[in-house]
């Protein structure tokens, strides 16, 4: 069991390190500049590992430069979602009116049709980076909040919290120094899951054409490939390689999460 966890951890970290490296120093991986043009629809060869696309960009270069965009949106929106989720989760575990309000908020967001809401809100709010990160975070905190809520309720009924109450510590003191440290492993696991969710949501949105076309993420690349007839041209790597990258990234986070999960 330990061995398989180690394998999962090493595999996940390797893939993740590769992508991080790609996003930090893309020049190591590709000799070309991001918008350098070559002949159109070149087949894969030694000089162009994945060929070129309809306007002559090297596909591999585009993937490498898309890594940082995808990473940035994925990680920042999941961090935001994590903070939001932790806050609302802890608040919803309170007794009384506040708890009810925030529990209701969680139930409400579980029911909302996420993707359709996101599309409509993105259309209204515009296509900026910040807007997209905020919107993805706005619909990404629900799962975190639910799990935090369940865990907090469990912790609150434990005897050491009771002990704190008997000693007369304040509510905020208990929440910050006694409940929060116990939530850290859950928060970390949720962060890894949250990155996956954000990357998936972002790619679905940009596949539908809601995104920055000049700085393409992987989802945008697939959208462009799809709209510009990569199917008919047989340029399947233009369609599939960004998708493979998305899957690998998601798998990497999943594997790390699996390896670091607490034994239950």
């Amino acid at each position: 069991m330990i061995k398989s966890r180690l394998v999962a951890l090493i595999l996940g970290c390797t893939i993740l390190a590769l992508f991080v490296f790609m996003s930090v120093c893309p020049k190591v991986f590709t000799p070309y500049a991001p918008k350098q043009t070559f002949e159109l629809w070149l087949k894969p060869s030694a000089s162009h590992i994945l060929g070129t696309n309809d306007v002559g960009y090297d596909i591999f270069t585009e993937i490498v430069y898309g890594t940082s965009q995808t990473f940035f949106i994925g990680i920042s929106s999941s961090l935001l979602a994590l903070i939001l989720g932790a806050l609302i989760g802890v608040l919803s575990a309170q007794n009384g009116f506040i708890g009810q309000i925030f529990s209701g908020l969680i139930n409400l967001f579980v029911m909302l049709p996420k993707l359709v809401c996101l599309i409509v809100l993105a259309a209204f709010a515009g296509n900026g980076y910040l807007n997209r990160i905020l919107l993805i975070a706005l619909f990404g905190w629900v799962e975190t909040a639910r799990e935090i809520r369940a865990k907090t309720i469990k912790i609150k009924s434990s005897s050491y919290i009771e002990n704190c109450k008997i000693h007369g510590f304040g509510k905020i003191h208990i929440a910050v120094f006694h409940i929060l440290p116990n939530l850290f492993d859950l928060l970390f696991a949720r962060f890894l899951n949250g990155v996956n969710g954000s990357v998936m949501t972002e790619s679905a949105l940009s596949f539908l054409g809601i995104g920055d076309l000049y700085n393409p993420t992987w989802g945008t690349m697939i959208n462009l490939a799809f709209r510009r007839g990569a199917f008919i041209r047989g340029a399947y790597n233009y369609l599939l390689m960004p998708a493979v990258c998305i899957s690998l990234l998601v798998l990497a986070f999943y594997l790390i999460g699996l390896a670091l999960k607490k034994e239950n």
């Binding site: 049709p113 209204f124 998708a243």
Partner: protein, 323 residues
């Protein structure tokens, strides 16, 4: 019973939330609400046109009267007017919603069926079958829905040419004939498969994990000791524990399945509500977008209420409590 009552209240609040969101969005965003509500650029409008739109949209009245007009448009079934398409939003959505429901509802039913049978077989017995199928589902879970669709298109439309890759019907086939019906099913296979494969992992994992959690219960040990067959144990004893969370989750996921259908419709160029939504986004047709959001939320809420009723009807504890 209290849980379901709470659920019902949340449903109603969810619905009201969407209505208020729809009403508030064009009025809160920076910029003139006229531009948002008509989809026409402010600069390209003459003063007369602008005044006409302002009056037609009741933007000169106070906010509560405006809200009244909005509620009225929801109740008389028009859902607003799309100035871009020159038709009421409801007529546009009604002409497209059939295709979306055919894809998403069928996919929900099929994926639930497969997940239930597969998850029960994997969860009821520890071993290699469970390991392999769980790993497979975890890997499928990492694939975005459009990747699944593209793989299917590449395999079955360009590799082996047996399925069409776009549309819901071949041209030149008369509506209403048996041929039309079978042609429709033939066209639906790939989109439905795509959505089914995307939904399968989460459902499979829920069934499998719930089944695994009750596997060590004493009544199951007793059942096995009495020599009951595996099938009887699976469907007679474990299914009862899985049913409640599973049905509740299915109800929750209908709304998400319409979201998934947006992606699939774009991929397969199907004229459904999803493509209507993305077309509206490209054309900046805001009333149409809001209409689609409203209808989606409506379907989601209705499906949650229906599954709650099914939950109440199938829960033996609740059934007896009422009698």
């Amino acid at each position: 019973m209290k849980k379901y009552l709470n659920n019902l209240i949340t449903c109603v609040i969810c619905f009201i939330f969407i209505v208020i969101l729809n009403f508030a969005l064009p009025r809160l965003m920076s910029g003139d609400p006229v531009a948002y509500l008509t989809g026409v650029d402010e600069e390209s409008m003459s003063v007369v046109q602008y005044e006409y739109y302002r009056n037609a949209l009741h933007l000169n009245d106070n906010i509560f009267v405006q809200f009244g007009y909005y509620i009225k448009s929801l109740f008389d079934g028009s859902l607003g007017y799309s100035y871009r398409m020159e038709a009421t939003v409801s007529s546009l959505i009604l002409s497209r919603i059939g295709a979306t429901l055919q894809i998403s509802l069928v996919a929900v039913v099929v994926s639930c069926g497969i997940a239930l049978v597969w998850g029960l077989s994997a969860g009821s017995k520890k071993g290699t079958f469970d390991k392999i199928s769980t790993t497979a589902n975890v890997i499928i879970n990492t694939l975005p829905s459009f990747t699944v669709g593209m793989l299917l298109i590449i395999l079955f439309c360009f590799g082996v040419k047996i399925f069409p890759y776009s549309g819901l019907n071949s041209p030149n086939i008369e509506k209403g004939t048996a041929e039309y019906f079978f042609d429709r099913i033939y066209h639906l296979i790939l989109p439905v498969t795509t959505l089914t494969v995307t939904f399968l992992p989460s459902r499979y994992l829920i069934v499998r994990n719930t089944a695994r959690a009750v596997l060590n219960e004493k009544y199951l040990l007793f059942a096995r000791q009495r020599g009951l067959g595996r099938r009887k144990i699976k469907y007679g004893y474990i299914l009862g524990n899985v049913a409640q969370p599973f049905i509740a989750m299915v109800g929750m996921s209908v709304g998400a399945s319409i979201g998934g259908s947006v992606v699939v419709e774009n991929l397969f160029s199907i004229q459904g509500m999803g493509t209507l939504l993305t077309d509206a986004v490209y054309a900046l047709d805001y009333p149409l977008m809001q209409g689609v959001l409203f209808v989606t939320a409506f379907i989601a809420v209705i499906s949650i209420i229906i599954t709650d009723v099914i939950c109440i009807l199938t829960d033996p504890k609740l059934r007896r409590a009422r009698l």
